[in-house]
């Protein structure tokens, strides 16, 4: 049985739409738009939600959550006054093991983690609570390595696709990430939330225009420039990972469900469904990568085999 990546969604990584939807109309709108995405996912054949969250940072390679039923609570580092997020999630531990195999087969350093009390990140909890509140579909989440760049992240996305296909799962991939990621650095009246600057807003809208056209690979190629110009979240690794997991092309029907400010950052909900035709395959600047061969650390002593 061959599995399949059915579709992908970019989803916000801040908890405020879940914790305090009544404090701001945009936050409430994001929560309500999640209900539309949820309906779309439920109408599909999905039996796995596969997440990459920029709020789960790793250093030692890539960590994959493999606790079948993580149950704990998290209090946001900034937004603790809005309350705690208690969670009880359903994870696909078998798939996590298969993702680990496929990641290692492509040269990545990776491990599964399953520990009582492990702090699942707020981005993952928020996404799953809003998109899969009754745990109908099991999930799996992979971390965002702080050192990885485009090539390594693409390989991680391709390993996700390998694992989905080998496992027979019908997966929806979720990139949990902000767009522009400059926050207000002071306490604001939530009613007055807005995108931090007009420049960030314009870049966000440009990116969303391309995603609305289904041009995911073009957006992946544009990610470096976007991050540089608009304070993109974690180099926009979530988009690199999604683009790789979805096949590195522009053959999608894009839907921008929502776009709102959350404490100055750009929060968007975008769906990408595979389509027969595309707006056009442009000339891509950056090549893909199939296998990860380690950091090319020009400063390290010449001691190959030591820390690969």
């Amino acid at each position: 049985m061959s599995g399949q990546v059915l579709s992908g969604y970019l989803v916000p990584n801040q908890p405020l739409p879940l914790l305090a939807p009544d404090a701001n109309r945009g936050w409430a709108s994001l929560r309500d738009s999640c209900a539309r995405v949820r309906a779309e996912i439920e109408a599909s054949e999905a039996d796995l939600l596969l997440l990459f969250s920029t709020r789960w940072v790793s250093i030692i390679g890539h960590q994959i959550q493999a606790d079948p039923q993580p149950e704990w609570w998290v209090v946001d580092e900034d937004f603790h006054s809005y309350g705690s997020l208690h969670y009880k999630l359903r994870m696909d531990a078998d798939f996590a093991a298969q993702y680990l195999d496929k990641a290692q087969a492509r040269g990545l350093h990776a491990r599964t983690v399953a520990y009582r009390g492990f702090p699942i990140d707020v981005g993952t909890i928020t996404a799953l609570r809003l998109l899969n509140p009754d745990n109908r579909i099991p999930a799996c989440v992979v971390s965002c390595n702080m050192y990885s760049d485009r090539a390594e992240t693409l390989v991680l996305g391709k390993a996700a696709r390998d694992a989905v296909e080998a496992s027979g799962r019908k997966a929806v991939v979720l990139g949990v990430s902000a767009l522009s990621n400059r926050m207000f650095t002071r306490w604001i009246d939530p009613a007055h939330d807005r995108i931090h600057s007009q420049k960030d807003d314009e870049w966000n809208r440009k990116l969303l225009e391309l995603l609305g056209d289904g041009r995911l690979e073009d957006v992946s190629q544009l990610a470096r420039e976007f991050s540089h110009q608009a304070n993109g979240d974690s180099k926009m690794k979530a988009l690199w990972w999604m683009a790789a997991a979805l096949g590195e092309n522009n053959h999608y029907r894009g839907t921008v469900f929502d776009y709102q400010p959350v404490w100055g950052t750009g929060a968007a909900l975008v769906g990408l469904q595979p389509a027969a035709a595309s707006v056009g395959d442009l000339e891509y600047d950056e090549d893909g990568a199939e296998f990860f061969r380690g950091d090319r650390n020009v400063l390290a002593p010449n001691d190959p085999g030591r820390h690969e």
């Binding site: 789960w56 940072v57 790793s58 250093i59 030692i60 390679g61 609570w73 998290v74 209090v75 580092e77 900034d78 603790h80 006054s81 309350g83 705690s84 350093h109 983690v113 520990y115 009582r116 009390g117 492990f118 702090p119 990140d121 390595n145 050192y147 990885s148 400059r182 926050m183 207000f184 650095t185 002071r186 306490w187 404490w263 950091d295 650390n297 400063l299 390290a300 002593p301 820390h307 690969e308």
Partner: protein, 301 residues
């Protein structure tokens, strides 16, 4: 002098107290669930913390004030504002090494006072009053390694992201103001405070881990650039040039990928009012390639 007899409050000492959870793991305290192999990595740092604790035995202080890089706040500086926390801390990055059952008393009055002084100096500040908050592992690790008995109240100060959002210079200037506010609040409190900067020096990690994380053959500084910067900063500390450490901090942080970007060391130097006494380096060593030093400034004399 015994506790409570100080005529006025004072910052009686400062510690550079790095927080690799590996050091707690290797010490096998009953609070930590995983057991170490004892293979022997990190000995220099473990010995450094031992020498620090011996040195502190003769000293009197009422409270630990810790600035931690692992409570990362983007909306200003936050302070723990609940009298007692207990719970399980699982490190999201090294969950294989650190699953630590903790109890922590907070000096809420001093915490609030530092908050108020900082706010009056124009800084964006918040008290954290959610009792379900999980105390970050930087605070827990540094406090445990400095004083394993855990019998003193703590003030924990978050790491505001100013250097990341704007630039290193802006971050250091904010830490200068926060350090001064800390010092003023401690002096007004009548208490003796030991201030802890919970951070590494050079901070470039290896992104892989050996089968036994404690395998000493794996450990070395990530590269010579990192080591050279660490040596330079430690030499400045040992020769009492703390002002120069602060002046060079933006470059050190930038060129050495140092964890000082999170502000802890700049805050500590300002809270100590840039002492000219020599910092005593109790130990220096590497953890997954990063440079860590245990350094003590005794300001009580």
């Amino acid at each position: 002098m015994r506790r409570g007899e100080h005529p006025s409050g004072a910052v009686v000492g400062g510690i550079l107290a790095p927080h690799p959870p590996h050091l707690v793991y290797a010490s096998n305290p009953p609070q930590n669930e995983p057991r170490s192999s004892g293979a022997g990595a990190w000995q220099e740092l473990l010995a450094g913390y031992q020498r620090l604790r011996a040195s502190l035995e003769a000293r009197v202080y009422d409270v630990l004030v810790v600035h931690t890089p692992h409570w990362k706040t983007r909306t200003g500086t936050h302070f723990l504002g609940v009298p007692h926390f207990s719970g399980l801390s699982v490190d999201p990055i090294f969950p294989n090494l650190f699953r630590f059952q903790y109890e922590l008393d907070v000096d809420v009055a001093l915490s609030q006072s530092i908050h108020d002084h900082a706010r009056d100096a124009g800084l964006s500040c918040q008290m954290m009053t959610n009792p379900e908050f999980r105390v970050d592992y930087g605070t827990l690790t540094s406090c445990h390694l400095v004083r394993p008995a855990g019998d003193l109240p703590v003030v924990a100060i978050s790491s505001v992201r100013t250097a990341f959002d704007y630039c290193n210079e802006a971050g250091d200037q904010e830490m200068l103001a926060l350090g001064r506010a800390t010092r003023a609040a401690v002096e007004a409190s009548g208490k003796s405070a030991l201030c802890l900067a919970s951070c590494s020096l050079s901070h470039r990690h290896y992104t892989t881990e050996p089968a036994d994380p404690e395998d000493p053959a794996f450990e070395s500084i990530h590269n010579e650039n990192q080591a050279a910067w660490d040596r330079h900063i430690l030499a400045l500390m040992e020769s009492g040039q703390s002002r120069r450490v602060f002046d060079e901090m933006p470059d050190f942080t930038d060129q050495c990928v140092a964890e000082t970007r999170d502000g802890s060391l700049s805050w500590l130097l300002a809270a100590m009012d840039f002492p000219e006494v020599a910092g005593q380096v109790h130990g220096y060593g590497t953890v997954i390639g990063t440079g860590n030093a245990v350094v003590e400034w005794d300001l009580s004399r």
